[in-house]
Structure formats: C-alpha cells, structure tokens
Symmetry: C2
Subunit: 414 residues, 2 copies
C-alpha cells in the first residue's frame, strides 16, 4: 500500500515544512500588494496544447474523462491565469498583481527521485508594460528567497531579454518560424556540448558564441538593474543573456534564480509573456503580462541544506505547532473541572492536549513532555487550586483555578 | 474559455474567503493538538473500490493513466489516511490526532450548481477506543463551526451509534451480510416516504419505526453527552439515533452537524471506523479510529448568509489582505529614495504598493485610496522630509524620511 509513483505523502513533519514554505510565500507576496487566486487542478487539454511549448506538451498528465472530454492535470498555472484574465479582467483595476500556489503535474517516464507533482508559487503582473514592472517582479522573487534566510552569498537572479536575441535573429534574417528553435538552442547551450549547439544554430553559431563569450546587455536590462540598485538589491542580480527559458510564450525580459554553489538547476524562473492573453482569447483581449514560478522541492532541499535557513524553519514550525499546555487529571473526580478548563483554554487560543484514556499521573507527565508542551496544569487534591508546572524549568506553582489564564499570560510575556 | 463543468475558478475575493475558512480550520484543529498531513490528489482506484461504499464508488472520478494504471482523483481522505497509518504508524505515539484539508472529487452527471470538487477539513483520531475520544472529536467539530461566529442557535450535532442498531439486527436475527442494506434504509428514512423505507426494511420496519418515533439512547451515547456537558457544549449536541451515515466503513458512534434552520443538508459528518485500517492492510495492522469531514461549500454559504459570521469574515480578510501603505512619487528625482523606502517597509513586514508607471500626483492618490491603503507616503520637494498622510482622516504630517517606520508604529498602536 504505497502512493502512486511520483506522488508524495506528506507526513506531519513534511506537511509542516510545506506549510512553512507556503506561509512565507503568501507573506512576501502580500508585502508586494499581490492577492491570491486559484483555478481548477484539471483543465481542458487544449488550453495547454496551444501555447505551452513542446516540453510541457510532451509531459502532459492527460486523459479522457468519463464524459469523453480530453483533459489534463495542470502542468503550469499561466494558461489558467491567462484564461481567467481574458474573461474577467474588466472587473479589476490594472495592473493586476496576482499570485497562486498551485500543485502542478507532469507525466514522464519514472526516474529515480523524479516527481510527477510539485507545488509552485506563481506571481504575475497583468496589464503593465513598463520595465519598472519587470524590476518589481524580480525584486519580489529575490525577497521570496531571502525570506527563508538566504543572502546574496547563496543565490543570484540571472536576467536576460529575449528581444536582445530576436534583434540578432532579425539582423541575421532568420525567418520568424525558426526563432523558437534558435532560442531553445541558445537556452540549452550551457548544458550541451558546444558542437551540438553549433549544429543546432548553423550559420548563427558564430555570432551567438561571440556574444555568449563576451556577454551582452541592453538599455532595458540596464534600466532594470538600475531599479534593483535603488532598492538595494543589486547584489542579488546580474545581467546574463545566456538565459532564454524553455517556455514558448515568453516575449521579453526573462530570468532564472540559481544557487551560487551550483548544486541545483534553476530554483525559480519567469519572464514577460505579452502575447499569451491575446493568443488564448483569439485576440479578444490583449494585455501585457509577466510572471515567475518557484517550486517547493528544490527550495525545500536548499533550506534543509543551509544551517541558518533550517534553524529558522524548525523554530517557526515548533512555535506554531507544538502543544502549549498539557492537562493532567490527577484525581478522576476532577475530570469535570479539567474538561471545563481545557475548553476555556482552547477558546482563549491555546493549543491544549490531555490523555483521552485514564492514565497514571506519572504517565500523563511523560506524555506532556513528549508533546513538547511548555506547561502542565494538574487537577487534583488541591482543588479549587490547581498546579501549574513549567515543564522547562520544572518549577510548579499552586494557582486558584479561575486565575490560570491570567497566570499563563504573565508567564508567557518575557 | 471556461473552467471544466463542476470546477471552480477562485478569483481573489473567493480565494480570500476560502483561505479564511482554511485558516480557521487550521487554528481550531491546532487548539485540540491535531497536526496536519496530506496525501496525493490521485490514488490507485482499488483503494476506494474496496471499502468506501456504493455511493462513493458510483461517483468516482476514475480514469486509466498513460501507464495503464486504474487511478482516481480522491473522493475522500479516509482511505489515504488509513493507507498511510497502516504503513507508518510505528513511528508515532498513539493516539494520532491528525487533520488535513484535501480537495476531493466526484464524477456524476452534471446538475445545476453541483460541483465536481470541493475542499474538506478532515480530523481523525487513530489508536484510541475510549468514548472520551468520540467526545473529543465531537467537541472539535462543534468548535470548528463556532469559530466562524455561529452559536447553539445556529447549529446542532446529532449523535448516534451504529451499534445501537446492530444490536437490534442481532436480536432480530438479520444475517450480517444484510446489515449494511438495513442501515442504509434507516439512514434514508428521514428523506424518503415511509412506505419506501418499510418496503426496504421488511419485517424490521415495525421495531425500527417504534424506535424512530420514541427515540433511542445507550450507555455510550449518554457518556459522550455527559462529557460534552462537562465542557459546556451540551447545547450544541443531542442524541438522535436516526443518524446512520452513508459510508460503509463506520462501526460505532456516528454524527452529523445540521443548521437549526434546516436550510442545508448535513454541514459535517463523521464517526468511528475501527476496522478500516485492518481491512486496507489485510489485517497486518489493527487500529481503532474515528474522524469527521466538513466541506467548504455549505459552510461558505452559511457564513455569507449570517450577518455576524459574514462581518467577522470580511473584517479578517480586509485586515490581512489590503495594502497598508501606498508610496506616492511626487517628484521623479525622488524615485530612488522612494524605491529604497518601499524595500525597507516591505522588509519590515508592511504591505506596500505604488504606481509602477509614472503618473500624476492626483492619480497616484486616487490609486492609493482604491487599494484600501491606510497611509500614503509622499516623496517630493520636502526631502529629506516626506509626507505621511492618513487616508482615513486626511491628516498629513511631515516626517524625516528615516523616522517613517517608528512614526508608522506610533500611529498603528491604538
């Protein structure tokens, strides 16, 4: 009895780590004025076949449903966003700043450790074409990674511009229907032997490799770097035209986030896709747009592999999840009073646990310690006094039962 | 370009309502010492075919994947939980108190307004058989509904015991392979004409209707009510043996939550399923268990239909989502200082927005008001002073730029 290949069970510790990541994502997106949306986990197959690009389409988790519809588990969120925006944008002030945390799926031959699902933060700005919006989005992805405790020593955003390359393709008179193929060859050049890329590029190989070797820049790229500098974020970013991105719908600025140590492939990536809303709406609506996605898997590995980031995560999880108070019923006749107190403490917002089955006092204290509770409250002979024991220091005080909440508040404060 | 029939898009307001519901669910489950887990959205079909009962199996969202596996989008969470627990329980102290917030799916003929997906809170206690654990779980479902602002005037938990009925079936010598059929007939008796139920029950009709008319109780049911009374929750619950529940795997105490006004079917339901872990593990592991589920759809309708609950929701959403500070760039030369301040304020935890494109001052103030921001900070001629304008009162003060954070803190406090 196992989960399907490529799907994860999230036991409580793994689920807490996932929720920690989600909470930080939500928090930072909120700081930038982004609001959350969501869409269906299942969409019509056509939504992806049209525009997502070859790699996504080849790995679609598609099937035919009981109603004979061709559908797919979403491989990415951007087509859903473009669909919703094309239909609903009139009710919103532009630019839209929207984020979502979808689970996305792919179906490929199972390989060791390769998942068929993961979660992503997607952040998109719709309806704004100025380069300031590209800078805002890149600042956001930087702050999303920083929020986990990483510094400019740990990661960098490499920023590029597809127009930089399409200008060259125009100049070299490459017909537009071969542009995507050329762009993908440049995209793969870092990860493939030079000969392979030269073969793909043909007569374009020479000018492309000249640029790749000496680097490239543009007015727009410099403007974006200038904006990041004003924010104090220049150390987290650099211009690097080797970045092109694999998705077919990008039209302008593109970027990817990498760990400086080079242990992982891209942690996050995104860019401008000014034509997608128009393409998906048959030109009924045209809106410039840009966005990025960051996944939970590589980010989780990075956090667990970095002492600072890991300590921050563990501290947050413990403080938000552990039981705070364990109630010990030392005399069975006190059960009624104990239950009333448990209810009152939970109503006041404390995380409270107790032994559902009757148990010896020593066992109840052992359970209290195992839950990680800070305090045990003991209902026994002293009633109407109860014992409040600090399980860290071992110190126990006798407190009138109706003074327990204010007593706990006073202990909590420092 | 629409979502698939029965699937929802969550535009920002709908997503905020959903997240509000999820956050309250998490909060209350935490007060009871429950920890979150999750499992795959897709499972092997067999996991459900075995034990979920006829109604679930008929409506399974099943399909064959590209690898020829028979799979289904999860229709409920309990089989996944039982699968995980059967495999992993040794690493956890019993009882487990676990919750999850899965999206679940069904495929039935589309009807007006019927969804093919919804979200649920599932709370389960595994490894404890004392009736105190049934009471703890029922107290939790009561507090989950109370958390949204509902009172004992608004809802009630009807508590029953399948063993109450199986005792009768034994007494009347009904063969065990017909028990499930008899239980389902009793379950449906409230919603079907009496003649139909009589026909289903055959010779059992007379004793069953005698009980349904005069009511029934048992030692265990009275014990649970007694425990809820100790907690001060007796007004939220009553014994009602008409409740049987539709799922096949229940073995003991069962309960459903209803709105007092009778506008909806059950808001939540659950019960004890002491055999399921053993059945799904071919008797490798045997653990008593109990749980409940509450969905997002009916609960959302109830909240929107109740003035108090709705006001509480809207207040929470606004205070957690609206932009707090809008930065106005009154002089283009001040953009650098404005960007630095925006970065600093976001780093300090404020939700900050500004106009990405250059815009006239009046337009920037209009945008500030539209975002719902409490403060506008104006970067203009006064530098190194900036203007801090309270957009509620209209009052504007001139503040040294490096004193803005402490100034905002002082305004925030009351």
């Amino acid at each position: 009895m196992q989960p399907l290949t490529g799907f994860r069970d999230f036991l409580p510790d793994a689920c807490a780590e996932r929720n920690y990541i989600f909470a930080k994502w939500r928090e930072v997106a909120g700081h930038y004025g982004f609001v959350e949306f969501d869409g269906p986990v299942l969409e019509e197959l056509d939504l992806y076949k049209k525009k997502s690009g070859e790699e996504i389409v080849r790995q679609l988790y598609e099937f035919v449903d009981k109603g004979e519809r061709a559908v797919a588990l979403r491989p990415e969120m951007t087509p859903t966003l473009a669909r919703i925006v094309a239909e609903q944008h009139r009710q919103f002030r532009k630019p839209l700043k929207w984020f979502s945390i979808p689970q996305v799926f792919r179906y490929e031959r199972p390989q060791r450790g390769r998942l068929r699902e993961h979660f992503q933060l997607n952040c998109d700005i719709i309806g704004e074409e100025v380069p300031e919006s590209d800078a805002e989005l890149i600042a956001l992805v930087i702050d999303v990674v920083r929020a986990f405790g990483f510094t400019s020593q740990d990661f960098v955003v490499r920023i590029s511009d597809r127009e930089f390359w399409t200008e060259l393709l125009k100049l070299e008179k490459v017909p537009p229907d071969r542009w995507e193929e050329m762009l993908q060859a440049i995209d793969k050049s870092e990860r493939e032997p030079r000969e392979k890329t030269e073969e793909r590029l043909g007569k374009l190989a020479k000018p492309v490799f000249e640029i790749l070797e000496k680097g490239g820049e543009s007015v727009k790229l410099n403007e974006i770097m200038g904006n990041l500098r004003m924010r104090g974020l220049a150390d987290f970013a650099k211009i690097d035209v080797r970045i092109v991105r694999g998705l077919a719908y990008y039209t302008g600025i593109v970027f990817e986030v990498f760990d400086r140590a080079g242990k992982f492939r891209a942690i996050a990536g995104g860019g401008r896709y000014d034509q997608l809303v128009a393409q998906l709406s048959d030109n009924a609506v045209s809106l410039p747009a840009l966005g990025f996605a960051i996944g939970d898997v590589v980010l989780g590995e990075m956090i667990r592999g970095n002492a600072t980031a890991r300590a921050q995560m563990e501290k947050t999880i413990t403080s938000e999840r552990d039981v705070e108070i364990y109630v010990v019923v030392a005399k069975e006749e006190q059960r009624g009073n104990a239950m009333a107190a448990i209810q009152q403490l939970r109503d006041s917002g404390y995380r409270v646990d107790y032994s559902l089955a009757s148990a010896k006092i020593a066992r109840q204290f052992r359970l209290a310690e195992q839950t990680g509770a800070r305090f045990a409250i003991v209902f026994g002979d002293e009633w109407p006094q109860v014992g409040v024991k600090d399980l860290t220091s071992g110190k126990q005080e006798s407190v009138p039962h109706d003074k327990v909440p204010s007593h706990l508040e006073s202990l909590r404060e420092p």
